[in-house]
Symmetry: C2
Subunit: 389 residues, 2 copies
């Protein structure tokens, strides 16, 4: 009797709840709608949107990470906003504005801490993942004594985070096992103006791209003492002095088997890097300047999108032959791609068509179109299971 | 008013429901309790059991896979039972007995199909993941014309499955894109009596251990035409003619970076295999005969348990130095280990102490003990995100 009453009442809940008011969260995701400061909540099983959350502030370059239970998304806005979104109720569970200008964040491997990388006032701030209460603040004062912007913030195993200091040219790795007294290792003089960083999927190798020099910095976090080494000289912007807005972001790399595929700076190419030696082992000629190179989860293919004005196209690269084997033209302003966790489908945001397209990753057939308001980043809850999510 | 009523009523629901009746499923798991034919449902965030499901039949060598939404576990019993368990309500959503004697199963990459590997009457049967209605049956009739037991069933990308025919000595790879007409590639004469098989985490390399000969069979599923090649001659049982109950199962291997660590047959050793060349590159001396070698998700450590009578112990192996760096003695009959998805903790079933222990994977400190009835296999929902789950 009581059960029947519960069921009846639950049926009055919003459409995103199932008949019994319960649902798993393993196939949910969030799509950033930058222009409207909103996010769509999507169901990859049904291939549809199941809710929308508004009031997320400035979502330029916004990104998201997920709680271990895959119920909550933490959305990092450009305006310093940090929003905890409840995917099951399509509401904002908590929201703070924690800085004046920020760029991305990360969640600790135990799910307890949210760290945010700030431009203004610089440094990294750390929050309780449950309440968003502030827990720690790590100012980014470089060897030169001045406060730096921070970029390339990622989580590492063992409740650690890594990030780079843009102005000071440093890479810091912080162990927050004791969050009251973070143990920070500072690698100074790593190169001029690291503009982005990322870590390999095993959490071992941290790489930062340099804007002020022509190359990439590599830290093997398994080695003691930690040290930063230059790799791929000639990779960077040196030869063409490109403006910063064309720099490919390093979250756009693909790790496949024993290789990394990195978007080349200012060229119509991907660079293949050997993951043992960190040397270049090949190049892939592409349609335009690559922005994101996203690996299908099995590593057999990499899907690549491109900078304006060639951003209506996606190319699919075979990672064994390093050749383009397929080209699609989804539509105007293809901004992002996200695979389902086992790689059977890929979701593509086509911003200026106000649409998300879903493709079969084996046959390349389009399986669904989902309306969205100027969609950009797509983030699925399976990221909660990944190191450096 | 209605909301308040809903909340009040929901509070009367079982303990596994949160205050609002909603919860994410990313941090749930299932622990097999073989002796009682039951399974515990556990929450890795809270480090506790939140429910128990009974009536699952004979759970000897039982295993489980998960639906993409991570709400349902599919439990494969030894008696041919296939049970779909609802983790959110701790109930059996569906249950069938699909064969007389079976050994494991898999879920297709799109989550639509459940395949089960049968001893009696042999072959592989395929079911609708939603309803458990039968969809296809693929008899395992070898080149010799006789029906074979099947073993080592795994999912591969592109709605494919791979398995081996024990009696006939064959490996079959089936594309079920059109489930009405499965496209099966049969590799015959691969070696005598393959007794178990598994695939690397990228879904590329299928390996089967041989009981009737001294070695392992390897299929690189990226190569066309498919072919089976012998590797690791000398790995197998030949030299000691061990009884079958001591053969280590191949789901007990660890893939770390560019290596596999395999339990050696009949020796107190792990064998390190290069993942590019599939040749032996080292051995690790261990406390006993390894049963499971489980990689911490970052690949830095591998945790190993052992066959009776040395099965009260776990050793932790550093995958760079290939040396044992730590030894624990959790208690009598350590049967299985499962890491949380990003590797911060590991759950250990200590069968004869009726207990699950939770360890910090960095400090090795014990963080919790959870009562369980003769626990064996531990399976977390993050498996839903993995190829060859």
């Amino acid at each position: 009797m009581i059960l029947r009453l519960i069921l009846t009442l639950l049926l009055m809940m919003p459409a995103f709840a199932r008949a019994d008011g319960l649902r798993g969260t393993g196939n949910l995701g969030l799509v950033i709608e930058r222009a409207t400061g909103s996010a769509l909540i999507v169901d990859t099983g049904e291939r549809k949107a199941i809710g929308r959350v508004e009031g997320l502030g400035d979502l330029s370059h916004a990104s998201a990470v997920f709680s271990p239970d895959q119920r909550y998304a933490y959305v990092f806005g450009r305006d310093g906003g940090l929003s905890k979104v409840d995917l099951l109720t399509a509401t904002i569970a908590r929201r703070i504005v924690q800085a004046g200008n920020s760029i991305g964040g990360a969640i600790s491997d135990d799910g307890a801490l949210i760290a945010v990388s700030n431009y203004e006032p610089g440094g990294v701030r750390v929050f309780d993942a449950r309440t968003l209460d502030p827990i720690a603040s790590i100012p980014a004062v470089g060897a030169d004594g001045r406060t730096s912007k921070t970029i390339g913030l990622v989580d590492l195993p063992g409740r650690r985070f890594a990030w780079a200091l843009y102005d000071a040219g440093e890479i810091w790795i912080a162990d927050l096992t004791n969050v009251e007294a973070p143990a920070v290792t500072r690698l100074t003089d790593v190169g001029k103006l690291p503009y982005d960083g990322n870590v390999t999927p095993d959490g071992r190798h941290y790489l930062a791209g340099l804007f002020g020099e022509d190359g990439v910095v590599h830290v093997d976090t398994w080695q003691q003492p930690l040290k930063a080494e230059r790799i791929l000289d000639g990779y960077g912007r040196g030869e063409q002095q490109l403006p910063v807005y064309k720099m490919p972001h390093l979250e756009g790399w693909a790790a496949v088997g024993d290789k990394l595929l990195l978007p080349a700076v200012g060229h119509h190419e991907l660079i293949a890097v050997d993951l043992r030696k960190f040397t270049e082992v090949g190049r892939v000629a592409t349609h335009g300047q690559p922005v994101f190179a996203v690996a299908r989860p099995d590593g057999r293919h990499v899907w690549v999108n491109f900078a304006h004005p060639l951003n209506d196209t996606i190319e699919v690269v075979d990672t064994e032959s390093l050749e383009v084997i397929h080209r699609l033209t989804p539509g105007p302003a293809v901004l992002h791609m996200e695979f389902t966790p086992r790689g059977n489908e890929v979701w593509v945001s086509v911003r200026d068509a106000d649409r998300i397209d879903v493709y079969d990753a084996a046959s390349f057939a389009k399986k669904a179109e989902i309306p969205a308001q100027k969609p950009s980043g797509i983030f699925f809850t399976a990221r909660a299971t990944r190191i450096g999510q």
